[in-house]
Amino acid sequence: MSNQIVQGILLGGYYALIACGLSFMFSVMRIINLAHGSLAVLSAFALWLLASRFHIPPFYGLAIVLPLMAVIGWALQRFLLERSARGGALLPILTTFGLAIVIDNFLFEQFGADTRSLAPFIGSLSYDSWEWPGSIYVGKLAVIIFVAAVILLGGLQLFLTRTGLGRSIRATSEDPDTAGLVGVDARRANAVAAAIAMVTVGLAGAFLGMRATFDPYAGATQLLFAFEAAVIGGAGSLWSTLIGGIVLALAQTLGAKVHPQGFLIGGHVAFLIVLFIRLYTSGLGLRGLLRLSTGKAS
C-alpha cells in the first residue's frame, strides 16, 4: 500500500505540471483554455515526430518544441484570446473549444488513430527504477517528472515575485487598467504569460508521452486532469496546484483499488467532493475558483 501511495504522490507531480499552465493562464487572463489538453498532446506528437522521423531523442527535442510552444502561446493570446475576450467571458470558451476540435482532428488526420508513446525513445529510463527502503520501487522517470514539477513551480513562483516582468504579469492580472497607468504594457504581459503557460504545457506533453501512451483525442482527458488538479488545489499559491495534483493521483489510485475501472472515477469523485465542500464552506466568493494568489504568503 505504501508503495502505491508513493507512486500516487509521484504521479501527482505530473498532474501539477499539466495543471499549473491552466491555472496560471486563468489567474492572469481569466480565461480557461479548453485547448489546453490538446496542446499538450500536440507537443507530445511533435516530440514523437522528431524522435521517430529525425532520430532526435525527446529530451533534446524539447529544445525545439518548447520554444515553438512559447510562440504558439504568444500567437494564441495575440490572435485568438485577446480578440475573443473583448466579446465577453463566454466567447473565449467557445473559441478555445473550437481550437481544441481543430487540433484533435488535425492530429488524427496526420497521425491516425494509433496510440503512441515516447517511451521507446528514452532508453532504459522508461522502466528503470530505484529501490527505496521498505522494498518500494520508484520509477526513475516518475521521480524526474516530480522533481521537474517542483522546479518548474518554484521557478515560476520566483519569476513572478522577483522579476520586473513577473510583477508586470501579476499587476495585469490584478487590475489591467491600472497596470497600464503605471506603465505596464498589459497586452505584452498577457502574451508573455500565455507563452510561459504553453511552455509548461509543452513540458507536460513531453512527460505524458514518456510515462504513458497518447492518441489524437487524448487532449480532453488531460484537460480534465489539469482542471481537477487545479480546482482541488484551490486558490493559494502555485504550490497548492502540487497538492491538488497529488490528491487527484491518490484518489485515482484508491479508485483503482476499489474497482478495476475505478481509476478515473476515483479522480472525478474526489474532484466533485472537494468542489462540493468548497462551494458550501466558502460561501459565495466563487468568482474565480482557480484564481491563484501569486504573491508572497500573507
Binding site: T161, G164, R167, S168, R170, A171, E174, D175, D177, T178, A179, G180, L181, V182, G183, V184, D185, A186, S293, G295, K296, S298
Partner: protein
Amino acid sequence: MSLLSVENLVVRHGLLQAVRGVSLTVERGETLALVGANGAGKTTLLRAIAGAHQAASGRVIFDGTDLSGVPAHERVRKGVALVPEGRRLFVQMTVEENLLLGGTAGRPGDWSVERVLDTFPNLKPRRHAKAGHLSGGEQQATAIGRALMSNPDLLLLDEVSLGLSPLVVDRVYASLHGLISSGTTIILVEQDLNRALSVSDKVVCVLEGRVALAGDSAIVSRDEVTKAYFGLHRKGAEGVLA
C-alpha cells in the same frame, strides 16, 4: 511651448458626455489646480490625459507630440503619470512591489524606492506589507510614490486627500510641497478650494464638462471660483439655486 495643451477635448462614457470641449494649457514647472463639483468631469479629464479613456474628439498634446491613440503605458514612458482616484494600488502586492511597478517604464531620473521611502517616512516600516493592509494615508503615499517612480514630467493627482483625515492630508501635502517647489509640473484635483488655490499657480474650474473659469490662483478670488463652481457666473443662471 507649453508642456501640455489640451484642445477641445471631448470624452464620452457611452451616452454621457463627461468632458465637452475642454481646452487648457500647462507650462513646464507649473502647478494647475482643477476644481469643480462631483461629476463635473475632472477625473475623466485627468484619465483622458493619462490615456485611460480615449477621446471622442479633440487632442492632447504633450511636449510637442499628439497623444491621440497612444495607449496609457506609452504615455507613462513619455512622462505622464497619474495618481488615480481611489489609489488603485495592487493590493495583493507589497509596498515595495507597487513602487517597483511604477518604475516599469524605465525613464531615467532620481526617483528610487529609497528616495520614495525617504519622502514618505511613514512607509518605511511598511515596505514589505501588502498594499491592501495599509492605512489610508499609507496607501495614498504609496500611490503617489508609485507615480513618482516613473520620474514623470507631468504628474496628475486625482483627489489625493479623499478619505483621509485632515492630519494625514496635511502630511501628504507637506510631502507634495517639496515636489511642487522642485519644479515638477502638476495637475491636481482637489475638493478643498483653499488648499487648491494655495498650492497652485493656476486654477481651472470645470462645470458640467466645460471650463467655467480659468485664471491665476493668486489673482482669482475665492468668491469667483465658488460662483464658477456652482455655475452662478453664467448670465441667467441666477435661478439655479432658487
